[in-house]
């Protein structure tokens, strides 16, 4: 069986399980919307007390947030591995995965898929168009193409970081509790990086490159020419970090010792 047909099979099963608990699905979509609103409220409240954030206006920051939502939606649809340690290592569920003849990471991704998170793409686009029209931005013929490229790059950056973190569990099965804080650090990539000092900027660009899922690619659409170089790097960073995480996974999985029963 090809990977594609397995994917389709999983989606089918997924729909069935989801439609069993319909009320929960509605609450889940609502809570997603609420989650997206939280950060928007943060921006709005902050700009209630200031006009410019190191030269960037409120609408520009909102536009960056709208852009961020799109790759983040893709990421949270397919890469729900924040509880990988508890779910697969501590409980020994990975034993089951490893007996099957398909790449283990691919199976984990399929099992933990959450298709309703795709809703975030719609919210993101709506926020972008809202802020963009306030700013009077125009769309060129190549913008949608680059947008797609940057979104994929951003989603892969996120996936790369979180898969790499999940692989730590192969070496050490203790809980880290760093995942929620990691999600929080992801938020900092949405603000103009020149507000941070050298170290934080370096971390957000090259070590935990969350700036590539926010300010760098969005700066391209905001016509901030000084950031174009970084914007074009987005897909490269995505491919690099995602490949690195798969490399780490492949090594890590050979070190796995079943911990559960």
């Amino acid at each position: 069986m090809s990977h594609l047909s397995i994917f389709v099979q999983y989606v089918g099963q997924y729909m069935k399980t989801r439609l069993t608990y319909r009320s929960d699905m509605v609450v889940e979509i609502m809570s997603d919307l609420l989650f997206q609103a939280v950060n928007l409220i943060f921006i709005l409240v902050v700009f209630g007390h200031t006009n410019l954030l190191s030269g960037w206006s409120k609408d520009e920051i909102i536009f960056i947030y709208g852009f961020f939502l799109v790759p983040f939606a893709l990421f949270s649809t397919f890469f729900n591995i924040w509880d990988f340690n508890e779910r697969y290592i501590v409980k020994g569920e990975l034993d089951r995965i490893l007996t099957r003849p398909i790449h283990s990471l691919f199976q984990v991704i399929l099992e933990r898929m959450e298709l309703e998170s795709m809703f975030g793409v719609v919210t993101g686009l709506a926020v972008m168009f809202y802020a963009g029209s306030n700013l009077g931005l125009t769309i060129s013929w190549y913008d949608p193409l680059l947008f797609l490229l940057f979104v994929l790059g951003g989603a892969f950056v996120y996936a790369g970081i979180f898969i790499s973190l999940a692989t730590i569990s192969f070496w050490s099965d203790s809980r880290t509790d760093i995942m929620p804080m990691m999600y929080n650090i992801g938020n900092f990539g949405r603000y103009p990086v020149d507000i941070y000092n050298q170290i934080i900027r370096y971390v957000l660009t090259w070590i935990l490159p969350f700036a590539f899922v926010g300010v760098y690619p969005a700066a391209f659409f905001l016509d901030k020419t000084e950031w174009y170089g970084y914007a074009y790097l987005t897909p490269v960073m995505g491919i690099f970090f995602f490949s690195l995480s798969i490399f780490l996974w492949n090594i890590g999985v050979t070190k796995y010792r079943g911990a559960g029963s």
Partner: protein
């Protein structure tokens, strides 16, 4: 009583066995606070204070809010949900203790562990690098201690309620997520409540959320002084008592219509 103390001890030891990874958590925590420091400095942009808080007080507020979160935070709603789904709750019910109290004690054991092995060293590390403002007044520390204990109680009560809801709706991942978002936003973890517009503030006074994070952080950063501290602590205590009512009601109803799904 003895069995409950034993539960705190066991959970503490369980966490202690897996302590190494907490050190990596401290580094992530430091990056987090550092980024907040610069973000808030940019937001202040040279202003002396916003809503009565200076930049340094603001950084202290954020740092201590995250540190306190490590103490009051727990996943018992998820634990309860899993035990209900797997049918394990049936066994728990026939054991000679109160299920909800036992869960609370387990959470307390976890919280105490995180306080000593994560919050305290993390806060120490951050205070070396950033200008945080620690009060020299022992009373402030005392009030802060009482306040985070009450925060723990309120947050745990909300988690118990969310967990018990699994008895009625069977799969409550969505509800748990919504609860987390609401607490992040309205507890004052990411923004002090005083920064919100007036109408929003008066709305929030009707909910227990701001007593989880806003109150202890304001006490610690001395944004609250004198009578304000006493009032805030009284309100926290009041909510602790008030929330017992819905929990008891839900628990009685849940036991009546329990459906064991697995096991």
């Amino acid at each position: 009583m003895g069995k409950y103390l034993e539960m705190i001890r066991i959970r503490f030891l369980m966490m202690l066995a897996y302590r190494t990874n907490y050190y990596s958590g401290i580094i992530i925590y430091s990056i987090n606070i550092a980024a907040y420091y610069f973000l808030w400095s940019a937001i202040y942009g040279g202003k002396e204070d916003i809503q009565g808080l200076s930049v340094i007080q603001m950084t202290t507020y954020i740092a201590v809010a995250w540190m306190a979160r490590a103490f009051y935070f727990n996943n018992i709603d998820r634990e309860i949900a899993i035990e209900i789904k797997e049918g394990k709750v049936a066994v728990e019910m026939i054991r000679p203790y109160h299920y909800l109290n036992m869960k609370t004690m387990a959470a307390l054991g976890e919280g105490i562990f995180r306080l000593f092995f994560f919050s305290v060293p993390g806060m120490f590390l951050v205070s070396l690098v950033f200008p945080l403002q620690f009060s020299a007044n022992p009373a402030t520390w005392g009030f802060f201690g009482i306040s985070i204990l009450l925060s723990f109680v309120i947050n745990t009560q909300i988690n118990l309620m969310t967990g018990i809801f699994t008895f009625f709706i069977f799969n409550n991942d969505g509800l748990m997520r919504a609860k987390r978002v609401v607490i992040d936003l309205f507890s004052g973890l990411i923004l002090p409540i005083s920064f919100y517009p007036g109408w929003a503030q008066s709305g929030m006074e009707w909910f227990p959320f701001m007593y989880i994070s806003y109150v202890p952080s304001m006490i610690f950063s001395e944004g609250f002084v004198g009578q304000q501290v006493w009032n805030a602590l009284m309100m926290q205590g009041l909510w602790c008592l008030l929330l017992l009512v819905p929990i008891q009601v839900l628990w009685v109803l849940a036991k009546k219509q329990m459906v064991i799904q697995g096991g």
